[in-house]
């Protein structure tokens, strides 16, 4: 099968959905023909669909989201790009109080079909303001859906599903994933929300991880296989809705679980998943649940410091060994 990058997969999804439905349009800073997106995800789209449907905005994150909401509740299907995930902090009222709640507050009179695409993640040495991951915040907001694609295949299939969904979607990408090249079918496909994917089958330990950490978990699993530890890697693919059954079934099978996420440990993604297991599958656990994540620090600039805080194969392996022994 042909291989394309994660960025190209996203681009294809946007292209196809804009072609399919003229209500779909894009807005964001520098998404248009001059820059084509900070990570080139909107490459070529302005040329094909014009400046009206691929709109460069001022640097106004709050209004980008607000405008998307207003368009969504009056019949359009906007896809908004926020250049860095950290900058969603500038638009939290619009995301959390408006997009997520309008339907509920108005008793179901409206729906808010919109997608907010934004990249999280560290690893490119751009320091504390542009390297965070706080998926967990959005999991805490009913009304939103939270999508976390880990491969080009998922990026395309989930983005197409997101654009067709009638709810506000936080579509969270990862900077280090954009250049990753993998197989993506040419034929149209959609990936449903709330369906985890078992990225590697195994019987000894379950690793639950998302986004870029899926790749580190897989790499760690290969190393562990040499030590005779057979790891199952489960990628939830959407954090809200979360495929609880798939996670719990894997834990029931292995009895041991390590959760790997790139966010700060306290009150992060790992907390929710661990709590879920402690609530619903405690009796199947043969060892404590270990969370591997960033320590509770901002992301530092210097690569030596940055690499120290980002979870790596070694820390993942150690955690797995700890729950196995």
């Amino acid at each position: 099968m042909r291989q394309i990058t994660y960025a190209e997969a996203l681009n294809e999804a946007l292209h196809e959905e804009m072609e399919r439905d003229e209500k779909v349009f894009i807005l964001g800073e520098d998404v248009g023909r001059f820059w084509q997106g900070a990570f080139k995800v909107t490459k070529g789209l302005a040329e094909v669909f014009g400046n009206e449907r691929v709109r460069d905005t001022p640097i106004s994150e709050s209004a980008i989201i607000g405008v998307a909401i207003g368009a969504a509740i009056t019949g359009m299907r906007p896809v908004a790009e926020i250049m860095f995930g950290d900058l969603t902090t500038l638009a939290m009222d619009q995301i959390v109080n408006q997009a997520a709640k309008l339907r509920y507050m108005f008793g179901g009179q409206t729906k808010v079909p919109m997608v907010v695409r934004t990249p999280f993640g560290a690893g490119v040495s751009i320091a504390a303001h542009l390297s965070q991951s706080f998926e967990a915040w959005f999991m805490h907001v009913p009304g939103l859906k939270v999508v976390v694609p880990s491969t080009p295949y998922e990026a395309k299939g989930l983005l197409k599903t997101a654009i067709r969904d009638d709810n506000p979607i936080m579509f969270l990408e990862h900077k280090l994933l954009y250049p990753i090249k993998k197989e993506v079918p040419k034929e149209e496909y959609l990936i449903p929300f709330g369906k985890a994917d078992i990225k590697r089958e195994g019987k000894d330990v379950t690793i639950i991880s998302t986004l870029f950490m899926v790749h580190k978990a897989l790499a760690a699993s290969e190393i562990l296989a040499n030590d005779g530890i057979d790891v199952e890697v489960v990628d939830p693919r959407t954090l809200l809705p979360l495929d609880k059954n798939a996670l719990i079934n894997s834990v029931k099978k292995t009895g041991r679980v390590v959760i790997v996420s790139e966010d700060c440990k306290t009150a992060g993604v790992g907390a929710e998943i661990a709590a879920l297991i402690a609530e619903e599958a405690l009796d199947y656990l043969d060892a404590p649940i270990i969370r591997v994540s960033e320590p509770d620090t901002p992301i530092p600039f210097s690569p030596i410091l940055e690499q120290f805080v980002i979870p790596d194969e070694r820390r993942i392996s150690n955690a797995v060994k700890k729950v196995v022994h």
């Binding site: 009206e52 209004a63 405008v67 207003g70 906007p78 109080n97 309008l102 507050m105 008793g107 009179q109």
Partner: protein, 318 residues
Amino acid sequence: MLDKSRLLNIYRKMLEIRYFEEKVFELFGRNLIPGTIHLYTGQEAVAVGVCLALHPQDYITSTHRGHGHAIAKGARLDRIMAEILGKKTGYCKGKGGSMHIADFDVGMLGATAVVGSALPIASGAGLSIKLRGTSQVVACFFGDGASNQGTFHEGINMAAIWNLPVLFVCENNFYAMGTRQSSVMLIENIAERAVAYGIPGITVDGNDVLAVYEAALKAAKRAREGKGPTLLECRTYRQRGHSRFDAATYRPKEEVEAWLKKDPLKRFQAKIIDMGIIKMDEVYQIEQDVIKILEDAVIFAMESPFPEPAEALKDIYA
């Protein structure tokens, strides 16, 4: 000049709002309304003047002080009242309450309790109009206090650069809770802020419903012609406290009295009587009509059931 039937309609709408709000005040006093209320009393000319300049398919966005906006845009008194009472038959099935009235069927896109948050949303509705190629416009109501929010700046600027059909209607009632406008901005007329976005800014007497109407009509025409947004400042006054719990002692007595003399409803009534457009018995007739539909609305609202508790778990996702 507007014809008689439209003038009478203006009068009726303003009266509906006035009496509605006084009824809400009374029901609140009788402990029938949960939460809090922010009454529109005294500001009726703004909502009515602006909405008169709109078409049925046009949109509005509203605020915590939003009953008047909903009524002016054509929402039903009974269902607004039911919502305020937390009933199942309310516009939002009891989930929204006084601060979140919405009626999408009449283009009322809902009220927000986050001051200033509707400005970018209104711009978004304007963008949708542009992209869909209809001839609608959006009127976005907000207060003097809201005009200091970052969303004011971002929302209006975006509408300006894209020539979106939005009327940004600032209801300058000179106070945000206990905070005087003059203590939180150095300029006198909020409309001056339009300069920052290269769009027209107009200040009108917000207690003169015809002045508001004419300014709004001009702005709506401009918007429909694709010439972009207008910032329309309507200077008005809330005759009651900020919310039901506020005695508004921070306002000088003389100031309140001076504004009561400029009451928009009385002024308009006097005007149409003076002009010979309406006679006292017609005034009386309208009053009776309004009292009657309001009574029916209250009965409807009072007799409606509360929602089932499990309704709380619905409408989260489409």
